[in-house]
């Protein structure tokens, strides 16, 4: 009996100590939080412009936000949003403009390196253009995808593409486009029979995918080859503006 009482007494003491410890830690956290808030506001005022211009500072800031489990791009109504958001929201709009402008050429599927080239060209008009990397484009697209599901990243072969039309590329479509991209440095074109042999598919399966991609304007047909018609991947063509 006395053993049981002793154990109960010890458990109660342990519980009380734990609660006190917890409260002390919480108080410490409150103090640290206030200090962090103050530092963050000061940082935003002093270095906000620098963070928006420098790719390495943006990466560092994202890493810090990841530690805090904060999405700095979630809302513009926050210190984090005001510090970093403007850069990514503006980048998102530039990406939409480039995708719309190049859609007649590529059917709404554009490689990220090409998109980056076009976006950087738009920013060179600014007096002090920011550094923009592929990582920034990926983050901006991910945010746009919250609003419009037609904007998404799609990996085809070893290259990342941006899809900006309301369609889903099936595994067959991706495999076909991946095969055409692997023909580099040769032109990205092939006939139905060539694709059928290379992919190990029945010709009907190739025709089905080719028709779907042609309707999306992601493939164009060249019927003047003198032999079998050849299908060209528009997203892989180097089209001068």
């Amino acid at each position: 009996m006395s053993d049981l009482r002793r154990k109960r007494r010890l458990a109660a003491v342990r519980k009380a100590k734990l609660a006190t410890h917890h409260e002390e830690s919480l108080n410490q956290m409150q103090e640290l939080k206030k200090e962090f808030q103050h530092n963050l506001a000061e940082f935003a005022a002093k270095y906000g412009q620098k963070v928006q211009r420098s790719a390495s500072m943006r990466q560092q800031f994202f890493k810090m936000c990841a530690d805090l489990k904060v999405d700095p791009l979630a809302t513009s109504n926050s210190v984090f949003g005001r510090l970093l958001g403007t850069f990514y929201y503006r980048l998102g709009i530039q990406i939409v403009d480039v995708c719309v402008a190049t859609r007649p050429n590529n059917g709404g599927l554009i490689p990220v390196p090409e998109l980056l080239k076009h976006v950087r060209a738009r920013y060179t008009l600014m007096s002090n253009p920011p550094q923009i990397e592929a990582d920034d484009v990926e983050k901006a697209i991910a945010k746009l995808g919250d609003l419009a599901s037609e904007y998404k990243l799609q990996r085809i072969g070893s290259t990342l593409y941006v899809l900006s039309v309301p369609t889903d590329l099936s595994a067959d479509h991706s495999a076909l486009l991946s095969h055409l991209s692997s023909l580099s440095p040769s032109p990205p074109c092939a006939s139905v029979m060539e694709m059928s042999r290379a992919l190990g598919w029945a010709p009907e399966r190739v025709v089905h995918s080719v028709d779907a991609l042609e309707q999306l304007c992601m493939l164009i047909v060249d019927e003047q080859t003198g032999g079998e018609p050849e299908y060209w991947a528009t997203a892989l063509l180097d089209v001068e503006e």
């Binding site: 410890h21 810090m64 109504n77």
Partner: protein, 296 residues
């Protein structure tokens, strides 16, 4: 004494001779010259040793300058130190009681993230945005065929109107959700949220889009009539054709065609040419009787 005189009065040949012949005097002179050249007030040693000392002192200065510069250059240092303490404390709290610690930390982070603006909270901010979006888009959509715009175009349009003060896609989505719920509750915000077609492409359209849709229908039917008059055959249009006719983007032209189909102005045909739309001849009075097959 001879050394000092020799240094002070260099033109005195005899004194120089003395310095050169007397070893002690020569050593003293060299030490004096070292001091004079290096510009040190007090020399602890002479010659190479002194040079090494000065070089070490310069290296120390350079290093401390670099350290100071690095500290000043790394603007994140103060923030990151602060953050490390926060994260370590959170981990400690987590060890005590995982669920409580997680929620305490999450609440704390939310408090860091909130800016004291004119808005009382996120909902108030989104309500303000919803009203502002309607205020900006309604005049624009009044002059757009079909009176509608896709969400992404609306977002780009609205942010351009805000110039520098851009909003996030998530905030815009929240504002659109409020527009949708306002419509459901009968509140007149000027815009309605609509899903068009099987794919459910989301658009924002004028609450009163009758005129805009009628204008779009007239333009499309006029083009179809022109083509029919040329060779007395039924012709079709695609989304790309309608995009050119109405000066819209292709996805939006697709939405306009789907709305015209819902209004029975056009009807679809899915075949070798893909998805195309013909004038809805089934609504013609002439179809009440036998329709001339030569027109098909």
């Amino acid at each position: 004494m001879y050394v000092e005189e020799a240094v002070r009065d260099r033109s005195s040949l005899s004194k120089v001779k003395l310095v050169l012949t007397d070893e002690k005097a020569a050593t003293a002179l060299l030490s004096h010259i070292d001091t004079a050249i290096l510009g040190a007030a007090q020399a602890t040693s002479s010659g190479l040793g002194r040079l090494k000392q000065v070089d070490k002192a310069r290296q120390r200065d350079r290093q401390s300058t670099l350290d100071a510069a690095f500290e000043k250059g790394n603007e994140f240092t103060g923030l990151e130190e602060n953050l490390e303490k926060l994260v370590a404390l959170a981990a400690k709290l987590k060890g005590l009681s995982s669920s409580e610690a997680e929620s305490d930390f999450a609440t704390m982070v939310t408090e860091i993230d909130t800016v004291a603006t004119v808005h009382k909270g996120q909902k108030d901010y989104e309500q303000h945005l919803a009203e502002d979006v309607c205020r900006v888009l309604v005049p624009r959509l009044n002059t757009t065929p079909g009176g509608m715009t896709t969400l992404i175009e609306a977002y780009a349009l609205y942010n351009r109107a805000r110039a520098g003060d851009l909003i996030s896609p998530t905030d815009f989505k929240g504002a659109v959700a409020l527009i949708k719920s306002a419509e459901a509750s009968g509140q007149a915000l000027g815009l309605v949220h609509r899903s068009v077609g099987k794919g459910g492409l989301t658009v924002l359209q004028l609450r009163d889009a009758a005129t805009a849709e009628s204008d779009a229908a007239s333009a499309v039917l006029e083009r179809l009539a022109e083509m029919e008059d040329r060779d007395s055959r039924l012709h079709y249009v695609t989304a790309v054709d309608v995009a050119q006719i109405l000066s819209l983007s292709v996805p939006l032209a697709d939405c306009v065609l789907l709305r015209l189909e819902e209004a029975c102005t056009v009807c679809r045909d899915e075949g070798p040419n893909g998805l195309v739309f013909y004038r809805n001849v089934f609504m013609d009075e002439a179809f009440a009787g036998d329709y001339p097959t030569s027109r098909l």
